[in-house]
């Protein structure tokens, strides 16, 4: 039986030595055969890895975690890089997925870890997601083991994860609530049409956001309201809050939301609106509660 397109392994390290052992074990076939390698870590970690690996053009480094801007954009960026390396029989990647233990927020990235199992399956890629066993919470570790078919051990063993969940069945973590939503919104619109929503939001954010950020927010608001009108259930409510460092817009309807738990992360053949929203320079969260489905868009001043 031939290897699947995308192989998705995880690993947990408790020391730099274990990290090095796991990473080099993963990259060993690539280094031996000259296969392309893509590594995305913090600047500090990248400098460390550079000392361990030979200086070769086959390795592409992304320092400063800039490759991990948002889950959907990261998926798309990797896809572009895979396409550029189409001649390779296998591409090896490793990166530091954001979570609370490394200064990030894991909610959202859990959907990423689930989605890539199918999103990249048309490429011959072997990925290893290494998590710090000390700083990763039990919740993060549980999700990691449910979204990766195999775990690599520092011993060299590669063991199946019995709790692995197929992406289509994965239930995403609820995003952390934003404290702004406990305050009175600056504006509330009932059953807005897309152009009404754009007009109101544009007027309210014009002096708070840079033009580029404001345009991204308007595109996001427009798509969210359009989707609510076409796929959701009335009533639709748009709420906008402003904080000292951010603007938050929530578009809610009474429907169940997209049936695909990974909606927006992978570009579909047809309706691209939700994927477009996820590619913007915004924090995008989708969640369901007793009231229905909500798209949350946040951008920073």
């Amino acid at each position: 039986m031939s290897e699947p397109g995308f192989i998705h392994d995880c690993g947990f390290y408790a020391s730099d030595t274990e990290f090095r052992t796991l990473l080099l074990g993963h990259l060993e076939p690539a280094l031996a055969g000259g296969a392309p390698i893509i590594l995305a870590y913090s600047d500090h970690r990248t400098a460390q890895i550079r000392r361990w690996l030979p200086d070769t053009a086959a390795v592409t480094y992304f320092g400063g975690r800039k490759l991990y801007a948002s889950p959907a954009r990261t998926i798309a960026a990797y896809r572009r890089m895979f396409t550029e390396r189409a001649e390779a029989t296998r591409i090896y990647i490793a990166g530091d997925v954001p979570h609370e233990g490394n200064g990030g927020t894991f909610a959202g990235w859990d959907r990423y870890e689930a989605a890539v199992n199918t999103a990249w399956d048309d490429f011959p890629v072997h990925g290893l997601c290494l998590y710090d066993a000390v700083t990763s919470s039990a919740r993060v570790r549980d999700v990691v083991e449910r979204t990766h078919p195999h775990t690599r051990r520092p011993s060299g063993a590669r063991l199946p994860n019995p709790g692995y969940t197929e992406p289509a069945a994965y239930r995403a973590l609820a995003p952390a609530p934003d404290a702004l939503t406990t305050t009175e919104p600056l504006v509330t619109l009932s059953d807005p049409r897309p152009h009404e929503a754009r007009r109101v939001v544009a007027a309210l954010v014009a002096d708070r956001l840079t033009p580029g950020t404001a345009e991204d927010l308007l595109i996001g608001v427009s798509e969210a309201v359009t989707n609510a009108n076409h796929h959701g259930r009335l009533p639709i409510v748009l709420r906008l809050w402003t904080g000292h460092d951010r603007v938050l817009v929530q578009v809610s309807d009474r429907g169940p939301g997209p049936s695909d738990p990974l909606a927006g992360l992978v570009r579909p053949a047809g309706r691209a609106g939700l994927w477009l929203v996820h590619q913007l320079d915004l924090d995008v969260d989708l969640f369901n509660d007793q009231e229905g489905f909500t798209v949350r868009l946040r951008c920073y001043t």
């Binding site: 897309p194 152009h195 754009r198 798509e223 913007l280």
Partner: protein, 286 residues
């Protein structure tokens, strides 16, 4: 060339020549009052004016005589009336090109007679009651707008909302650069901007994606110069990805890329992210 008024208009006053207004009404008396205002402005600007509506010419003239300016113009021949039902039998379908040619001839005549142009207020509900009538008239509206954008001719096209309904009104209104409130969210119309095949304005979004595609088809857009279809998009507030994909389909069909001149940055951003082919935003620093 005068600047054409575009977007939502709240009344029919102070519209110079070359403007093309879609006025939707629910009260006939309100329409007549607007038409009188509109035509009286034309007479004061030295134009020949024609009032086109259904009814006995004497009755139509009586409407104009409520304005002293128009009463004098009727007496001098500067104002004319025309019974639309006399020219078109019930259910008749206009010949778009012939209709434009007729107004072009009347415009030329007005200029020959020393007028500064021709202005028409036309109540044309009876010409768009059936689907075939609407199709032909929509084509006519776009053709006449193209003519209007480049010649001293202006028109106010009035439609009875209680007879036609919002959908039919919107289908026709989007082919005018200016319309009364609530008639349409976008417009695709003629333009005097050199090199441009048409002007697009307002908001193009999924509220009415089929209407946008039908408007593009009716406009029959082709390159004016060069090998690109240039659209004057200075008044385009927003176009969503559905609207841009419709433009990409048009470009593919025509074999010519589409350029939204001075279009919104958000359109450039959407094109960039979705990698929509054959459509660009030009004239801005994107």
């Amino acid at each position: 060339m005068s600047r054409r008024v575009s977007g939502v208009v709240e009344n029919c006053r102070d519209l110079g020549i070359q403007n093309h207004l879609c006025w939707c009404y629910t009260e006939p008396g309100e329409f007549r009052a607007r038409a009188v205002e509109y035509l009286a402005d034309g007479v004061l600007a030295g134009e020949r004016v024609i009032y086109v509506a259904a009814g006995d010419p004497e009755v139509l003239a009586g409407t104009l005589r409520t304005s002293p300016v128009l009463a004098r113009a009727l007496d001098s021949g500067r104002a004319l009336v025309s019974d639309v039902t006399a020219a078109y039998s019930a259910g008749a379908v206009v010949d778009p090109r012939a209709q434009v040619d007729a107004y072009a001839a009347l415009t030329a005549q007005a200029l020959d007679d020393g007028c500064t142009g021709l202005r028409v207020a036309a109540e044309v509900t009876s010409l768009v009651r059936t689907r075939p009538q609407q199709e032909a008239f929509a084509t006519y509206e776009h053709l006449v707008d193209q003519y209007m954008a480049r010649h001293p001719f202006g028109a106010m096209c009035a439609y009875d909302r209680t007879v036609l309904g919002d959908e039919v009104i919107a289908e026709l209104a989007c082919l005018h650069p200016a319309a009364s409130r609530g008639a349409t969210g976008f417009w695709l119309c003629g333009t005097g901007r050199p090199g441009c095949a048409a002007a697009v304005g307002g908001d193009v979004d999924r509220t009415d994606p089929d209407r946008w595609r039908r408007a593009l088809a009716r406009a029959d857009l082709h390159p004016v110069i060069g090998d690109e279809i240039l659209l004057d998009a200075a008044d385009l507030a927003f176009i969503d990805h559905h609207g841009l994909i419709a433009l990409a389909d048009l470009a593919f069909t025509r074999g010519a890329p589409v350029v939204l001149l001075d279009g919104p940055r958000s359109a450039a951003r959407t094109i960039e992210i979705l990698r929509i082919p054959l459509v660009t935003v030009g004239g801005i620093d994107v």
